[in-house]
């Protein structure tokens, strides 16, 4: 072991750049995973190198709506506690408005779902816990007793010490990285070879960028992009406050989040620290962050811009006037602290798409740092982590989402949402449109409401279909009529239900151009595909294969459609939201011998789905090719000509109807659209949005969605997607898959129906996803692996006359007809297990699809 040295080794298994909470935690867990020669560099001094770790407010509120973030936080809290650097003080999130009261009730659902002790408290109780607050502005409080403050610098020091005890760790402070050298392999993908510093060079194949706000700058040295921007978070310290001083403690009162003011207040010794996410977004460039020498306080503690904080001071004085509104308590410290903001507010973790061996561990808050370190170490060692990290994977970004302008636009838009009330379907408004299909203009003419997926503009529903609402009233008013609560109907339209019913009656055309298309070819293609997917890839030419793609631990990595195009050629089609991750996954696993080539055809192809009982009639009227059930059976693909457009047609459906996905050359997309629209007019064709494709149609058919039902924490066995036989050929995740098959089933994917929508006031409410499923007695349901049951997807089933929820249930609970509860916005609603496993509620034998 070597500590704090100026002599660097010539070679290391891994070099971690950045000695903040993430870097320190990562080296510790890498050592735990058996990595032996580890170097930790920082250009700043220790223990505080001057990054965001050194000025963070260091408190942890464990409850987040995101399961991924909550799990990382809980894991981090356990680690901080083990290190002895965690002080539990409790925390209260305060609602000043109606809307926030609802949000706090929603937080209760998340707290229950993720198993965190919390309660809603009234103003009296809130003031009892934190007596200096103005009771009059408090309407409701969300109290989490386990809220804590931590000392991340001390945690880092302890982790370095413990790492050094078990591994060959070199810690080099005041060491600046000058370059990261790469070498380009046969696949054309560069790989890390060495790192150059002002204290010498180190040969290594693995470099981790854990540089916080500097990460983009360091990644660039290797030719990679880490999409984040440094942004200002303002904080002030006000004191001395005798009431706080007399506690003699660093923190003796709960931390307050004044949610509607987008602020927090916490005791810090004799001072009250006041922080804000309410000010205008103030973005910096990684290259403009001052050096250590040039910085007044530290490179990430920039001069306070007082004018941005005026409004927040008024809010703080309103809530904490009793101790803040005094002439003898002054603003003793005020900074514009820099932290990292990403385009979608999630961390940026994983191996960079551009360079093999270059890992990102960036945009991580103090509350997630140790957990991220542990998960990333697992990921780097085993290819997968215990907690599903797909939402944080650096590979989720398409190239168009990694550029400076986009990052800044989204960071500006997202900054004030840090404490905001963010709807699960909430859309970004800036930096749009990015990617548009050839149908876009036609869709606009039809009044499409566009949602974004993977940067693509996709119609969610069409205003032009509003008349269908009246037409479909016969199905029951409750399915086509508006949802009474604004929250439930936000980013939603009843038109989706009407489009759904019209599709089931007639025929719909759906823009699926956001699909990603990969061409995989070469003499090694069959072997390669066998290794990549769970299903047997060696099928006859023309055959469609729906298959899970597994992570090395046997959990889900992706699910997608594969077509055997030729003996030595496959087409892979995957969802727009997953395309970037899947492309990088497939590319990274190409054999080194060059026997397989990978081509991303996404930008060459557009896709139009045509589904419904009359789909064959529509298609037959514009093609000379045989589209009958004999000539074009289900689960096959053929090239046909539609009008004058050559099309790769796939007889498949995600909505359970007869029909095809039509894949056409991008530049002929418009012609295809017009041809189908015209041919469909006599058949009553309508354009339908993704609301039908992704939610109502899909859920009626019980189809699982990647990222919702399918995550790396669940196996195909849990998901009901296990195949009859395990194929001979080895494939990634096989071992875990086989193990899951062999053991007693743990949980099963179920479809539940909501039996009564009425809340205590009689208003009809609609859960949106993420809510806990509870036993009839109101207890949390957890499977024997500790995985909680929660709503993975929620949406209407207009054709089955029920509002549907999908959830994993432990096998002993997963019985059809079993009655349970779902907790939504502070109330509980009865639900019934309608389906266990893969059999859909609608058209259980798939007769429509196979017609």
């Amino acid at each position: 072991m070597v500590m704090n040295t100026h002599t660097l080794p010539d070679r290391a298994d891994v070099v971690v750049i950045g000695a903040g909470i993430v870097g320190n935690s990562l080296v510790y867990h890498l050592a735990q995973q058996g990595w032996s020669s580890i170097v930790l560099l920082d250009k700043g001094p220790l223990p505080d190198p001057g990054g965001s770790t050194g000025h963070a407010s260091n408190f942890i509120f464990p409850v987040d709506h995101s399961k991924e973030i909550t799990d990382l936080t809980l894991d981090s809290m356990r680690q901080y506690e083990q290190l002895g650097v965690l002080t539990t003080c409790g925390g209260i999130e305060i609602a000043r408005t109606d809307e926030r009261e609802e949000e706090l009730r929603r937080r209760m659902s998340s707290a229950t779902a993720w198993g965190i002790d919390a309660e809603l408290i009234g103003p009296d109780r809130a003031v009892e816990l934190m007596p200096f607050m103005n009771r009059d502005v408090i309407r409701l409080g969300f109290y989490t007793p386990s809220v804590a403050v931590v000392d991340p610098l001390q945690a880092g020091a302890l982790m370095r010490e413990q790492t050094a005890a078990s591994a060959d760790l070199t810690v080099a402070a005041n060491t600046e990285v000058l370059g990261i050298d790469t070498v380009t392999g046969p696949s054309g993908q560069p790989a890390v070879r060495a790192i150059r510093t002002d204290k010498g060079d180190i040969e290594t194949e693995t470099v981790v960028v854990a540089c916080g706000v500097w990460s983009p700058r360091i990644a660039k040295l290797a030719g990679a992009r880490i999409p984040l921007t440094p942004a200002v978070h303002q904080m002030i310290d006000v004191g001395p406050i005798p009431e706080l001083a007399e506690t003699g403690a660093e923190i003796a009162y709960p931390i307050i989040r004044d949610m509607d003011a987008l602020m927090y207040e916490r005791q810090s010794g004799a001072d009250l620290e006041v922080g804000s996410y309410a000010h205008r977004p103030i973005l910096h460039d990684p290259d403009d962050i001052p050096s250590l020498a040039a910085a007044q306080l530290s490179p990430t503690q920039l001069p306070f811009t007082a004018e941005d904080f005026d409004k927040q001071m008024e809010d703080a004085l309103e809530l904490f006037g009793s101790i803040l509104d005094r002439e003898d308590s002054g603003i003793r410290h005020a900074i514009n602290g820099l932290l990292s903001i990403t385009p979608d507010a999630s961390p940026v973790l994983g191996e960079a798409p551009e360079v093999n061996g270059l890992w990102s561990a960036a945009a991580v808050w103090i509350k997630e740092g140790p957990g991220v370190g542990r998960m990333l170490a697992e990921w780097m060692t085993h290819g997968a982590a215990e907690i599903d990290l797909h939402g944080a994977d650096i590979n989720r970004f398409y190239p168009s989402q990694r550029g400076r302008a986009h990052v800044r636009a989204r960071a500006s838009e997202g900054f004030n949402k840090t404490y905001g009330i963010v709807h699960p379907r909430e859309q970004w408004l800036s930096s749009r449109p990015q990617r548009i299909s050839p149908f876009y203009e036609r869709e606009r003419e039809l009044g499409a409401e566009f949602f974004e997926a993977g940067g693509w503009e996709r119609p969610q529903w069409y205003a032009s279909n509003r008349p269908l609402l009246q037409e479909m009233e016969g199905y029951g008013a409750e399915f086509v009529h508006d949802r009474p609560h604004e929250w439930d109907r936000r980013w939603w339209s009843p038109i989706t239900n009407a489009e759904h019913l019209a599709m089931r009656e007639r025929v719909a055309m759906i823009d699926l151009s956001a699909f990603a298309h990969f061409d995989i070819a070469g003499p090694g293609a069959v072997d390669y595909m066998q290794r990549m997917i769970m299903a047997n890839a060696d099928r006859r030419v023309g055959r469609l294969i729906y298959t899970p793609v597994l992570a090395p631990n046997g959990g889900f990595r992706s699910d997608l459609t594969v077509i055997r195009m030729a003996e030595d050629r496959y087409r892979v089609i995957t969802g727009g939201a997953d395309g970037a991750r899947d492309a990088n996954w497939f590319r990274r696993h190409l054999p080194a011998d060059g026997s397989v080539t990978f081509a991303d055809l996404t930008s060459a192809n557009c896709t139009l789905g045509v589904w419904g009982p009359r789909a064959r009639d529509v298609l037959a009227s514009v093609t000379d090719d045989d589209v009958g059930n004999e000539g074009f059976p289900f689960a096959t693909a053929q090239y046909i000509t539609v009008g004058s457009v050559p099309v790769l047609a796939l007889r498949v459906s995600y909505v359970g109807e007869l029909g095809w996905e039509l894949h056409a050359p991008f530049e002929q997309g418009r012609l295809l659209w017009d041809t189908i629209a015209e041919a469909g007019t006599p058949h009553g064709i309508l354009p339908a949005g993704i609301g039908v494709y992704g939610t109502t149609g899909r859920m009626e058919k019980g189809y699982r969605l990647m990222g919702a039902e399918l995550t790396s924490e669940y196996t195909p066995v849990d998901a009901g997607l296990a195949l009859k036989k395990v194929k001979e050929h080895d494939f990634i995740g096989k071992e875990g898959y086989v193990r899951a098959r062999e053991q007693e089933p743990v949980a099963e994917m179920c479809t539940l129906t909501l039996d009564d929508h009425r809340d205590s006031s009689g208003m009809r409410r609609f859960p949106q996803g993420g809510e806990p499923i509870l036993s009839p007695g109101g207890d949390r349901i957890v499977d024997r692996l500790g995985r909680p049951s929660y709503v993975t997807s929620a949406g209407a089933g207009p054709s089955v006359g029920a509002y549907l929820l999908m959830a994993y249930l432990p096998v002993d609970v997963a019985d059809e007809g079993n009655r349970l509860l779902v907790q939504y916005m502070g109330e509980r609603y009865p639900v019934t297990v309608a389906r266990v496993g893969r059999t859909p509620l609608f058209d259980p034998d798939d007769s429509r699809m196979k017609a």
Binding site: P290, A293, A295, Q296, A306
Partner: protein
């Protein structure tokens, strides 16, 4: 008593000053601005003097329009009003600064009577010319003591006793008011502005003058202010002109490592013995 405090907008200390590429000024992109520690003490002292003896505190600054921030800071600490002499972005030489301040004080005193005490920082933390206060006091015909770390006012006698540290002790000076004083950090512990004070300061109205560099030989009164325009004060350049800034050459010598922890004690004592101090 009426107290005037003259303050200068300067980059806050901390870090090593970085120079702009042309070497003419300090690169302040990442720096906060302040009035400097001496002047913070001056403001604090003025506020507490007025609290004891009655009256009001006026803060006056000659500098760029942004110096408004420093005036508001002083107001947030408790000063009653702020006066800005906008002299543009370029730093004035000490004679010009003094002449601008003198002109402004004459103007203010013509309106509101004399200031009993005019306070300065002993020197500015950036330029460090050590003379502006003295020049202003001389021009106004008032006594001034520098380096002051203690002020006592005798209301009845109309005098102030000013204490300053010297190498071997403390000297006390008496001045007859009105007078001036240049103070040093250590005079008091300046308060931090309260939140309410900050909000008050943001809303405070500042009086504004504009400094115009006069041309020798032309009358100072040329061109009065237009309606709503700030009063124009004519100032004259002095004989000291900054050309450029540079960093002193650092004599980089190898540090001799005597050892780690208490084991190094004998080596330390060897050095003390060499110096013949033990």
């Amino acid at each position: 008593m009426q107290v005037l405090v003259c303050v200068k907008r300067v980059p806050a200390s901390g870090g090593t000053p970085q120079l702009t590429d042309d070497g003419v000024r300090v690169d302040t992109r990442n720096l906060a601005f302040t009035v400097g520690p001496h002047e913070e003490c001056a403001v604090e002292e003025a506020i507490s003097l007025v609290a004891t003896h009655g009256g009001a505190v006026t803060v006056l600054s000659v500098g760029p329009a942004e110096a408004e921030e420093q005036l508001r800071y002083a107001i947030s600490m408790g000063a009653d009003r702020g006066v800005l002499v906008d002299s543009g972005a370029d730093e004035l030489d000490p004679q010009a600064t003094a002449s601008a301040l003198t002109a402004a004080i004459r103007q203010l005193e013509s309106e509101g009577g004399p200031f009993d005490l005019i306070m300065f920082g002993n020197e500015s933390p950036d330029a460090g010319n050590y003379q502006v206060g003295i020049r202003v006091a001389c021009a106004l015909g008032r006594a001034i003591v520098g380096g002051v770390k203690g002020i006592t006012i005798d209301d009845d006698a109309g005098t102030a006793t000013l204490h300053r540290g010297v190498a071997d002790g403390v000297e006390a000076y008496e001045v007859t008011l009105p007078a001036a004083v240049a103070v040093k950090e250590g005079l008091n512990l300046p308060r931090y502005p309260s939140m309410r004070g900050r909000l008050r300061a943001r809303k405070a109205e500042l009086a504004e003058f504009r400094a115009r560099i006069g041309t020798p030989g032309t009358p100072d009164t040329e061109g009065g202010p237009g309606a709503g325009e700030p009063v124009e004060l004519v100032v004259h350049r002095g004989g000291l002109r900054k050309l450029r800034l540079r960093r002193p050459a650092e004599t980089q010598s190898e540090t001799v490592l005597l050892g780690h922890g208490s084991e190094a004690a004998p080596a330390v004592v060897d050095i003390l013995e060499e110096l013949d101090v033990v």
